[in-house]
Structure formats: C-alpha cells, structure tokens
C-alpha cells in the first residue's frame, strides 16, 4: 500500500468519506479535530467567564445557579448579569468571525474586513444617529445597525463591488474612503453631545458586552442562525474565489450572483454583531487568520473562524474584567490591545517560515 501511495496518490488521503443514502459527503479529518478542540476551548472559556469577576462565586454555586438553585444574588449574578453577557459575546464573535473570513476570501486580501470596509462604521453611525435623535436613550435599537451596514454595503457595491479589481484593492480603497467619511461623521456627532452622552456612546463605539441582554440576544441569534445556512451554501463558491477570475469562472463560479450573495451574508452577519455589542475591533481580522492557520491552506475556514471569533471575544471580555479590576475594560479595547501583538506575531512567524 505504501508502494502504491507513492505512485498513485490518493486524493482523499486527509478526509473521511461518507455515503448517506444519495449523499456523498467528504469530512476533512483536520476540520473535525480542530472544531472539536475549539468546542472544548469554548466550553472552558464560557465557564471561566461565568465564574470570574468582581463577585466571588464558586464553580458549584455557578452550576447550581445555572440550574436555578441557590442564593438570590447568585441567581441574579449568573442569569441576569453574566450569562447574557457570555451569550452576547458568543453571538458577536460568531458573526464577526464568519463575516471576516467571507470578506477576506471574496476580496482575496487579509485586510478586507467589515471594519476596514466601513460596514461596521455604517452600523455604528445608524445607531448613533438613532440614539441622538430619540429623546430617551435607547440602546435597545440593535436592528438599525444591520440597516446602516446594509446601506454602507450598498454604496460599496454600487461604487466598487462590480469590480473587485486586482486583489480587492479597488474595493478596499473605496472602503477606506467610506470608513473615513463615516467615522468623521460619527466623531462629529459625538463631539456635539454632552459629555455624559458622549462617553456612553464612546464606550459603545469601542465595543462592549456589558449591555448584553435577552431582548437583543434572542433576535440577533435568530438572525444569525437564519443567515448561517446561506453562508455555508456559499462555501463552495468561496473556495473558488480564492483563485483569479480566469481560473474561477471556467470552474463554474457565477460571477455576479456569488459576489452579491457573499456580500449580503457579510452585511447581515457584521451588522447583527455590531447591533449586539458595538463594533469590536480586530476579531474579524484575526479570527480568519488564526482559523486558517489551524486548518491549513486547503480549506476556507468558515465555521472554524466563527468559533475562533467566539473564543477570542469571550477571552478578551473575561480578561477585560480581570485586568482593570475593579473597573471593567470594554471587550473592544482588550481586543485591540492584544490583537496588535498577535498580528505582529503572525506576520513574523509567516516571514520566518
């Protein structure tokens, strides 16, 4: 068999092949393993972020509180304060990770993430405008973020989407322009608020999980779950999009349809995440890079990137609660402080190889 292998290489050496009725599925072993590991990591970090914090609570008490027993303060702490927060973190990380990987693949450029292209900023602007216009302060209007993101993306597609150009540069430049425009409008609005409003908005624009609650979590997760199958349907196209057009189109890539669908998914995913927790920096950039290092180059890391996003966001949030004790650092701040060195590490490692 070894002798045969050298002369006749097996195509599916790294995969498990399954025949389920008429279905013939190929499950790459590495993908399964990596995802399993990520799940275990995620479970660990979820538990850790439930247990750690200002308020001392033991593991047993946490579990009991989760099951609905124990002291009233423990019940409130776990079920009303920490659990919604963890869920918001999961939802945001998931959306950003997935949106990041899809956009990077589409534009064939690691720098293309919802934040660089202004999609996050569009969502933020929508929320800021709504908060400013409404007399009472309503952070609950999460759904305006996807709408803002969609408008930004529409502008993006209208002006640059038709021609992604060589390695997505056109798209990126237009995105950078949009980001600059939207950000300065955001800053202008913030500078005209009173300090109280402004600093609350500022915390929000950094990305924070502290406001997470069921009223936002449930609709946002439903939205994400409904978009997820569409995203997974795009996977086959995305694997082709990593090539030049002159390779991808003869291999059966529908040029315009695929691009529109992918951008649509990105908008919904990124917009919902921004709506839930504000624009958290770096996750959409780092999660796909990490995930594709874990998976190897032959796969587009879709779900893996999404889970990586969850792990990143939750880790950052837990750290943010521990580092600056007794204050809380918003998750977005921790992400950018830690994300920077991480990116450097990736760059240096890649160069060394």
């Amino acid at each position: 068999m070894t002798q045969l292998n050298t002369t006749q290489p097996s195509v599916y050496k790294h995969d498990w092949l399954m025949r389920l009725g008429p279905l013939r599925l190929r499950v790459p072993r590495r993908v399964v393993m990596v995802n399993l590991l990520l799940f275990i990591g995620l479970a660990g970090i979820m538990l850790a972020s439930l247990i750690m914090g200002d308020f001392d609570i033991s593991i047993m008490q946490t579990v009991r509180a989760l099951l609905g027993h124990g002291e009233r303060s423990h019940l409130i702490l776990i079920n009303d304060i920490r659990l919604p927060r963890v869920i918001t973190g999961m939802v945001t990380g998931f959306g950003l990770g997935l949106a990041g990987t899809m956009l990077q693949t589409l534009a064939r450029n690691r720098l293309a993430t919802p934040e660089v292209l202004g999609i996050n900023e569009g969502g933020t602007l929508a929320i800021i405008v709504i908060i400013t216009v409404s007399t009472s302060s309503l952070f609950g209007l999460w759904w305006v973020a996807p709408i803002g993101a969609a408008i930004t993306a529409a502008v993006l597609i209208l002006f640059g989407g038709g021609r992604v150009g060589s390695q997505g540069y056109r798209l990126l430049i237009i995105g950078l322009g949009l980001t600059a425009l939207l950000r300065s409008i955001n800053e202008l609005i913030i500078s005209r608020q009173n300090l109280m409003h402004a600093s609350a908005l500022y915390t929000w624009t950094l990305g924070s999980l502290a406001t997470g609650n069921e009223k936002v979590n449930i609709p946002v997760s439903i939205g994400l779950l409904m978009t997820l199958p569409v995203c997974l349907l795009c996977t086959r196209w995305l694997t082709l999009m990593r090539f030049d057009e002159e390779i991808a189109i003869p291999l059966g890539l529908p040029r315009r349809g695929a691009r529109l669908l992918v951008i649509g998914c990105v908008v919904v995913m990124a917009g919902l995440s921004v709506g839930a927790a504000g624009p958290i920096a770096f996750v959409a950039l780092a999660a796909p890079i990490l995930a594709s290092r874990l998976l190897g180059p032959s796969h587009v890391p879709m779900l893996t990137s999404a889970w990586t996003g969850c792990v990143l966001v939750l880790t950052a949030d837990t750290l943010g609660r521990l580092i600056a004790h007794p204050q809380e650092l918003p998750v977005g701040v921790v992400c950018s402080v830690l994300g920077g060195p991480f990116l450097l590490w990736v760059v240096l490692r890649q160069q060394a190889n």
């Binding site: 097996s10 308020f55 609905g68 304060i81 609350a200 009223k215």
Partner: protein, 347 residues
C-alpha cells in the same frame, strides 16, 4: 490510459474509513446531545429563577407600596428603604442634602471619585460602584441594595439589569429641573420636613444674593468652557443656568437658548458671543488646571477684548457643577460662587 489500481485501493481504504466515521458520528451525537441538554437546563433554570425572585419579592409586600416614577413606570418599592444606591449626581446630592447616606454611589462626572463639591465628611463610608452612566452591575449586586435611584441618562439595558437586582426608581428625566428630582427623592425617603427646610434655606439664600447684587440684578451671566481647540458656551438648559434664572439674572442673548447643553466649538473670530457682564469659566479639572485654561484663554487677544474680561469679571469655577449637572447642594454652591465673585469684584 484509464487507471484502475487506485480505485480498488481506495475502496479498501474507504471501508476502513467507514468504521472511523461511525465512531466519529457517535462522538458527534454525544456532544450534540450534551449541548442540547445544557440548553434545556438553561431555559429551565430561567423559569425557575424568575419564580424564585417572585416568591422573594412577595414576602416583602407588607412593607412595600406602589409607586410611579418619573419615567412613568409602575413599581413596587419598599416603604422604608434601608440600603439605597444612588446612580446619578442629583440623587447622591439630594440624599446628602436630606442627611441620608446611600450605601453606594457612582463617581462624579468626569472625576475619579465622588463630586468634588461635596464635603468629604459627608461622602465618607459610601462605596463607589464605578463610573456615572456605566456602573458595575456586579459591584451594585454585592451591596445588596433594596432600592436603586437612577436619574437622567440611562440605557434600557442597564435599567433592565438593575431592575433584576432591586426596584429602580427613575427620579428625574433628562431635561427636568434638579428641584423635581430633589422633591421625588425626599418623598421616597419620607423626608418631607428636611426637604421643606432645605428649600426655605435655598430661597433665603436667593434673596440674600439678590440683595447683594443690587444694581447688578439686570446683568448678564455668560457660562463658558475653554478647550485648547476653541471655546464653547452653555445654553440655558444647563444646571447652573437654572440657578441663575432663579436669582433673576439673565443669560446673554446668544446663550439664552434651549436644546443641546452646550454649543459646538466657537470660532475664535466670534468670541463676542462669549461676552457677558460676568463670565464664569468652568473646567472639569481641578483648580490648578483651570488656571492654565485661563492662561491659554487670556493669551488670545480677542478674548482679552471682551467686556466682561476687561472689567475683571472673569471668574474660574468648578465645572463639575457649573457646566454639568448637580443637585441641591451644588445649587447652593453655585449661589456661593456668585456671591463670592460679586464681593471680590466690589473690592
């Protein structure tokens, strides 16, 4: 040309793989069912938890009463609250004015502790639960409050979370006068007498200042902030402006408008809009920095040309009460500041 060997070979491989797949499937279903179980438990516990709090709350019914707060929310609150947390400066200020100490409160606006104008002796023993507008839920929970006072700016999410911990009373809405908030706090704490006493003292003080003003009663008072990138002025919605109108003093024409609390950054060519018979310049920083802000302001020629400045009526004041929000104690201090400024100017 066709190659047959790899196919047969890989067929044997696939058989082996099928075994592996089955074991993998078992693992997958196991993990999946575990996750499902966890989800079910979580939802179950949600319900049991709400029942739990219900029973806890119903125990207190004998000592509680219905109440409608400033935001129009129907609440059940304790008749004699013991452990109160004040989450806005008006609430803290009002409680202290009524000689009641909250167990915990948020820091002052733009400060790393309780508002500077409050006596240290009064705030001693109060725990800080973080920044105004963004308090730490866990710290609040640890104080085990039975009533939470929240005024002005809040988010719906924060309100929902706080309500899970204890009844939350919104004591005043954003644009409301501090007096309304004060009145409501007094009612909540059953301190009607202390409230009346304080308000009488306040009115007396107003009369006193008015008398002191004499001819100056028709003067205009400009309230400004100085940023290195440019100055701005406060509109009449700001807290100190209300105290000033209580006295009977006026605001300059440009500044006598509602809406936003302060103007955008003013062009250095239009500094005349800052002018008034009296110019109170507030900073959020301590006295030392206010002086440096003064220095940078007065180094601008256009600023020096202002009427108020030339008459020596430029007065640096603590911005933490002048240019933001305050309660009864802050109002008294604003009156003090004005009185002091007047007498200094007279000398």
């Amino acid at each position: 040309m066709p190659i047959t060997t790899p196919v047969t070979m890989s067929c044997t491989r696939w058989k082996i793989n099928h075994l592996k797949i089955e074991s993998c499937l078992v693992m997958k279903t196991l993990t999946l069912s575990l996750i499902l179980l966890a989800c079910i438990l979580l939802t179950a516990c949600d319900q049991s938890q709400s029942e739990n709090t219900e029973t806890q709350r119903s125990q207190d019914t004998t000592l509680s009463r219905p109440y409608t707060d400033a935001a129009g929310r129907q609440l059940t609150i304790p008749t004699h609250p013991k452990r109160i947390i004040a989450l806005s400066e008006v609430d803290l200020d009002a409680m202290l004015a009524l000689d009641v100490q909250p167990v915990a409160a948020t820091d002052g606006r733009g400060q790393d502790g309780f508002p500077r104008y409050l006596d240290d002796s009064k705030t001693q023993g109060i725990t800080s639960v973080g920044r105004l507008g963004n308090p730490s839920m866990e710290a609040i929970l640890m104080e085990k409050p039975d009533l939470i006072l929240l005024g002005g700016f809040y988010t719906d999410q924060a309100l929902a979370k706080l309500s899970a911990i204890a009844p939350v009373v919104v004591t005043y809405t954003l644009r409301e006068d501090w007096k309304k908030g004060f009145e409501r706090v007094a009612a909540l704490l059953n301190k009607q007498e202390a409230y009346d006493t304080f308000m009488i003292k306040y009115d007396q003080k107003i009369q006193q200042v008015r008398k002191r003003l004499g001819d100056h009663i028709h003067d205009t008072v400009s309230i400004i902030r100085w940023n290195p990138k440019g100055p701005m002025f406060m509109y009449n919605t700001v807290f100190a402006s209300k105290v000033i109108s209580d006295i009977g003093l006026k605001r300059p024409e440009y500044q006598d408008k509602g809406g936003a609390p302060h103007s955008p950054i003013l062009s250095l060519e239009s500094l005349d809009q800052l002018d008034g018979d009296w110019i109170f310049m507030g900073t959020l920083m301590t006295q030392g920095d206010a002086v440096s802000a003064m220095a940078s302001a007065t180094s601008t020629p256009a600023f020096k040309a202002l009427k108020g400045v030339q008459n020596g009526h430029l007065i640096p004041v603590d911005g933490s009460m002048w240019t933001s929000v305050g309660g009864p104690l802050a109002a008294m201090q604003v009156l003090d500041d004005i009185q002091k400024a007047m007498s200094q100017a007279d000398e």
